[in-house]
């Protein structure tokens, strides 16, 4: 797990990358169930899955996810969240459309997810985050620096509608350049999501 301090947002954000995830279907069902459970049991369950779970294959760089996190923190601070929580806002920021259901389907946990970014944003900076992350996700934690090697560039291009972009078509034969250009465009898309045309 890595922690990023954002003093101007009075927040510390915790992020962990899991690969070889084996419980995605169960985790998804658990998130759905936690939202409807009542009483203390509900509270405990909600805290157990109180994270943004992001499909790591759709994230192109650490900067990409950090940009979604800061734009979500900004929306939370300005009371302009488009979704229910700052965690779902991160997922909303990653998807180019305004449809939160589509964003969750694409960027959240699905039954066949095998690589997950787990994010906790909380100004109160509660203790025990790391162990709750490991308890929720069955998989292997690896350093964030492995993100780029997991990226599914075909899906990234498809979801961000980059296949028609002249610049991406031109760079097709030079993967390093293509990936660099795609990363710059998707980071920019996330940064300007709140004012997209």
């Amino acid at each position: 797990m890595e922690s990023f301090a954002y003093p101007h947002f009075s927040s510390t954000v915790h992020v962990a990358l899991f690969v070889h995830v084996t419980n995605a279907a169960k985790l998804k069902a658990r998130i759905v169930r936690a939202s409807t459970l009542e009483g203390t049991e509900g509270q405990v369950e909600r805290e157990a899955v109180n994270f943004a779970f992001v499909d790591a294959r759709l994230v192109t760089s650490v900067l990409h996810i950090q940009t979604a996190i800061t734009q979500a923190l900004l929306a939370a601070a300005q009371n302009t969240l488009r979704t229910k929580t700052v965690h779902s806002e991160v997922i909303w920021a990653l998807n180019p459309s305004n449809n939160i259901t589509e964003a969750l389907r694409r960027y959240g946990v699905s039954d066949d997810t095998t690589a997950l970014l787990v994010i906790r944003i909380d100004p109160l900076n509660p203790s025990g985050v790391k162990s709750r992350m490991s308890a929720a996700v069955e998989g292997t934690q690896v350093p964030m620096s492995q993100l780029a090697s997991l990226t599914d560039w075909v899906s990234v291009k498809k979801y961000n509608k980059l296949n028609v972009d002249p610049v991406i078509r031109e760079a097709q034969n030079n993967p390093a350049r293509e990936h660099h250009l795609i990363d710059n465009i998707v980071v920019s898309l996330v940064a300007m999501k709140s004012v997209a045309a």
Binding site: Q66, N79, P166, A191
Partner: protein
């Protein structure tokens, strides 16, 4: 009015680089240990009605962000977006480690006096050598990049030698091969248009900027046009004719206020 505390705190922790008539420009880091970012804050003009002021500021920020994205998608060399707080007039842009073309041509940066001593000319040549380009090659790059922008139907609206930068060679080694060394910046007045007239005005504005900023500018601007012509292909004919006819009115479209 939106709660401005986080962005204000961010600006306070940043280093002020320049202060223009409309914007303050800072250097900062948005993420712990992350790459540097340029923050452009369009501050409020107290003499204007504040709601109107806020909506004009917002429109400029949104316009600049959208123009940059359009350029990125069309392969025009521009810095990427890193942060947008339109309510507070703040844009975060990828930091370019380099110098403005104005500076590299020996006229200093905007707001400072040109290097007036007799070593001035030698110093420019040394500076260009450090950047690994000749004056001619630099001018051609400028023309080519403007042509790419016009081919994508983007009109800059404020083309000057301050609004283009050359990356320092030391920062190119971190990038994949084939990335442009020259970047266009400052898209606050940009708009989309396919009209010959608008593209010709864009070039005319640059020609005037060259004439007022750089001594003996005419051969330099000639090189810019050569690069432009080559990249534009058959679109050049109409634009070139329009530029020669003159009587172009350099009045930026995007500007709502007077």
């Amino acid at each position: 009015m939106a709660d401005s505390i986080p962005t204000t705190a961010l600006l306070h922790s940043s280093t002020l680089i320049t202060q223009g008539a409309e914007a303050k420009v800072y250097r900062t880091s948005l993420h712990p240990g992350g790459a540097p970012v340029l923050l452009k804050h369009r501050f409020s003009k107290r003499y204007r009605h504040s709601t109107l002021d806020a909506s004009l500021t917002r429109a400029r920020v949104v316009g600049e962000a959208r123009a940059l994205l359009r350029c990125l998608r069309c392969g025009v060399s521009v810095p990427g977006l890193r942060f947008v707080d339109a309510a507070n007039g703040v844009l975060g842009i990828e930091w370019v480690n380099g110098r403005s073309v104005r500076f590299l041509l020996g006229s200093g940066d905007e707001g400072e006096e040109a290097d007036g001593n007799e070593d001035g000319v030698v110093a420019d040549e040394e500076l260009l050598a450090e950047y690994g380009v000749s004056k001619e090659a630099l001018m051609k790059m400028v023309g080519t990049e403007i042509a790419k922008m016009h081919l994508a139907d983007i009109v800059h609206g404020d083309l000057t030698t301050s609004n283009m930068m050359l990356r320092h060679p030391s920062s190119i080694s971190d990038l994949p091969q084939g990335m442009q060394q020259l970047l266009l910046i400052d898209f606050g007045l940009a708009y989309t248009s396919s009209l010959t007239e608008d593209k010709a005005v864009d070039l005319y504005v640059l020609e005037r900027a060259f004439a007022s900023t750089h001594p003996d500018s005419s051969p330099l601007f000639g090189r810019v046009l050569e690069g432009y012509k080559e990249k534009m292909g058959k679109e050049w004919t109409a634009i070139g004719r329009r530029l020669e006819e003159g009587k172009l009115v350099a009045c930026p479209h995007g500007q709502v206020d007077s």
